[in-house]
C-alpha cells in the first residue's frame, strides 16, 4: 500500500545571505489511518518540518527534499508544488491545528462564518444544508450550545473552546491527514484531557491519519502508533511507540524516557515519605 504522505530527505534552510540549515534529512511515511507522533525540544525543528509539509514556509525559509501527498492516484509534492496545487491539497487532503488557536481563527469573524467557508468551498454546501453542517461540525467537537458558539466571536469563548473550534475548522473540509502542532500545550491539564480524547475519537471515526507534534512524551505516547524523535534539526530516531519507550536507541531518547519516568514516579512514590 502506498503512503498517504511520503517525506523524503526533507530539509529547511534559511536562504542567503543568512544561509543556514535548520532541519536536515527527515524521512518518514504516514499511511492511511496511522498516527505518527513527533517529539523534540524547542528548536529541534519539529514545527518547521510540519510547516514544510504544509507548504507554509515563508521567506527567508525554504524547504528541500520531498513531502509527497498521494491524492486519488495523483502525487503532489508540497516542497515543489505550485501555490494553486497546494491550495487544492490543503484543507481537502491535509489540514492543521496549532498551539495557539488564533493562528487559524479570525478574531473579527463569527465562529459560524469561519466554518462556512471550507464547508461551502470543499463540500459544496449552501443554504439550510450549510447551516446544519456548521452546527453539526460544532456539535462533533462537543461544544455546548452550538447555536450560541456559531454566533460568537473568538474572544467570547474559553481557550479550550477555541481549540475545539480550531479542530472543527481543520476537519471541516474532510481532510485525510491532520497535523496537530502542540494542540494542547497552552491548555489547562483537565481541558487538555478532553481535547486529546476528542482529537483521538474524531481521527478514529473518520479513519484519518494524524501527525501529532509535542514536547511532552506522555502526551505523544498516548496518541501515537509510531514516534519520530527530533534533536537539533535532525531525525534522531523513529520507532513504534511501545518499542521506543521500552528500548530507546538514541541517547537523547533514553534521557527523555528516563526523565519522564522519574517525573511520573513523583506521583506514585512520594520522595518526602509519609
Amino acid at each position: 500500500m502506498s503512503a498517504l504522505l511520503s517525506v523524503e530527505d526533507l530539509g529547511v534552510d534559511v536562504v542567503p545571505p543568512d544561509a543556514r540549515r535548520l532541519v536536515e534529512s527527515v524521512t518518514f511515511d504516514v499511511h492511511e489511518g496511522e498516527r505518527l507522533g513527533v517529539i523534540g525540544e524547542s528548536g529541534s525543528g519539529k514545527s518547521l518540518t510540519a510547516l514544510a509539509i504544509l507548504g507554509l514556509l515563508a521567506h527567508p525559509l525554504r524547504a528541500r527534499g520531498h513531502a509527497r501527498f498521494t491524492v486519488g492516484g495523483a502525487v503532489v509534492d508540497a516542497v515543489s508544488a505550485s501555490q494553486r496545487r497546494l491550495d487544492r491539497v490543503r484543507g481537502a487532503t491535509v489540514s492543521a491545528v496549532f498551539q495557539e488557536p488564533l493562528a487559524s481563527l479570525d478574531p473579527l469573524m463569527r465562529v459560524g462564518d469561519q466554518l462556512a467557508w471550507p464547508l461551502a468551498h470543499h463540500r459544496g454546501l449552501r443554504g439550510d444544508a450549510l447551516r446544519r453542517a456548521i452546527l453539526d461540525a460544532l456539535a462533533d467537537v462537543q461544544l455546548p450550545a452550538p447555536e450560541r458558539i456559531a454566533r460568537s466571536y473568538i474572544h467570547e469563548i474559553s481557550g479550550g473552546q477555541r481549540q475545539r473550534v480550531a479542530i472543527a475548522l481543520a476537519l471541516a473540509a474532510g481532510p485525510r491527514l491532520l497535523i496537530a502542532d502542540e494542540p494542547t500545550t497552552a491548555l489547562d491539564v483537565t481541558v487538555q484531557a478532553g481535547v486529546l480524547e476528542l482529537l483521538q475519537r474524531e481521527i478514529a471515526d473518520r479513519g484519518m491519519s494524524l501527525i501529532f507534534i509535542s514536547h511532552d512524551l506522555p502526551v505523544v505516547s498516548a496518541v501515537a502508533d509510531r514516534v519520530l524523535v527530533m534533536r537539533g534539526g535532525r531525525q534522531a530516531e523513529l520507532d513504534e511507540t511501545r518499542r521506543l519507550l521500552r528500548s530507546p536507541a538514541h541517547e537523547y531518547t533514553r534521557s527523555l524516557v528516563a526523565a519522564s519516568r522519574r517525573l511520573d514516579a513523583f506521583l506514585e512514590v512520594h520522595p518526602h515519605g509519609r
Binding site: L217, R261, F266, H272
Partner: protein
C-alpha cells in the same frame, strides 16, 4: 504557648479583587516556614498568581492579612526591607526575567545591591562565585551575558540570584514549566538540594501536579479562588478527597507502564 512564627510567611483568610471585578480569592489561608515546602496547585484563573502577589507584598489583600514573622506586612513599613531580603521570588520565564544587557554576575549580585546589604565589590564577587558553584554553573559564567545560556542554565542563574541575600523563603512561580523535560528534572533536583542544605522554605505555585509532588511535602489545591483541599502531598496523591483534586490527578498524562 503561641506557635513559633519566626520566618513564617502566612496568608490569613485573605480575599482579593481588582477594583470592581469579581473577587479572585476568597478567604484563603496558607503558611510556609523555614524548612517547609508547600505547593499551590491550580489551573488558569484559579488565583495562583494573585495569591503569590499578595504573599510578595506586591498587592494588598481586600480583606484578611499577610503576615511575616508574625507581623502584618504593611507596604512602606520599615520591616519591608527585612521582608524583601527574607522572601525571594523565582519566576517561570528564565528568558524574560534576566536583563540581556547585564552580565550574569551583575544579575546575581543585584539583590545584594538593591537591598543595601553590607559588603563591597570584592565581597559581592566572592558571593557570586559561591552562588554559581551552588547552582552548578562554571565560575566564568559571571562575566558572560544571559544569551549565552540555555533555558535550564538561565533558570539556575535566576535561582542563584534568589539565593544571593540568603532568604528564608523562596516563592517560585512555575519555575520549571518553560523548560524541556530532560532539563526539568535537573532543576527540580537543584531546588530540592538547596532547600535541604540551607533549610529554606519553598512555596511553589504551579498548574503541574507532578512538579508540586516532586518539590513539596504539603500541597493545597486552589480552584476558582478557594482552597478546596490541603494536606500532605502523599495523602492527596493516594487518597484525594475533593472531586476537583481527583479530576486534576487523573488528567495528568503519564507514560504507559514499562
Amino acid at each position: 504557648m503561641a506557635a513559633d512564627t519566626r520566618g513564617v510567611l502566612e496568608a490569613a483568610d485573605v480575599s482579593f479583587q481588582y477594583r470592581r471585578d469579581r473577587p479572585v480569592l476568597h478567604g484563603v489561608s496558607v503558611a510556609v516556614g523555614p524548612g517547609q515546602s508547600l505547593g499551590l496547585v491550580g489551573e488558569s484563573g484559579a488565583g495562583k498568581t494573585s495569591l503569590l502577589r499578595l504573599l510578595l507584598g506586591l498587592d494588598a489583600p481586600t480583606s484578611g492579612r499577610v503576615l511575616f514573622d508574625g507581623a502584618p506586612l504593611d507596604r512602606g513599613s520599615r520591616g519591608l526591607r527585612a521582608f524583601r531580603r527574607a522572601v525571594q521570588p523565582v519566576y517561570q520565564d528564565p528568558f524574560s526575567s534576566l536583563d540581556p544587557r547585564r552580565t550574569v554576575g551583575d544579575a546575581i549580585a543585584e539583590p545584594l545591591r538593591s537591598l543595601g546589604l553590607p559588603g563591597g565589590r570584592g565581597e559581592r564577587a566572592q558571593r557570586v562565585a559561591e552562588l554559581l558553584r551552588d547552582v552548578d554553573l562554571p565560575a566564568d559564567a559571571a562575566s558572560r551575558y544571559p544569551e549565552a545560556f540555555s533555558g535550564g542554565q538561565r533558570q539556575r542563574i535566576a535561582i542563584a540570584r534568589a539565593l544571593a541575600p540568603r532568604p528564608r523563603i523562596i516563592l517560585a512561580d512555575e519555575p520549571v514549566s518553560a523548560l524541556d523535560t530532560s532539563v526539568r528534572m535537573h532543576v527540580i533536583e537543584l531546588f530540592l538540594r538547596l532547600a535541604h542544605e540551607n533549610g529554606i522554605g519553598i512555596l511553589l505555585v504551579s498548574h503541574d501536579l507532578t512538579i508540586v509532588s516532586a518539590l513539596c511535602r504539603r500541597m493545597a489545591v486552589l480552584e476558582a479562588g478557594r482552597i478546596v483541599e490541603e494536606g500532605e502531598t502523599a495523602d492527596l496523591l493516594t487518597a484525594p478527597q475533593h472531586p476537583y483534586t481527583q479530576r486534576l490527578l487523573s488528567a495528568v498524562p503519564r507514560l504507559p507502564a514499562a
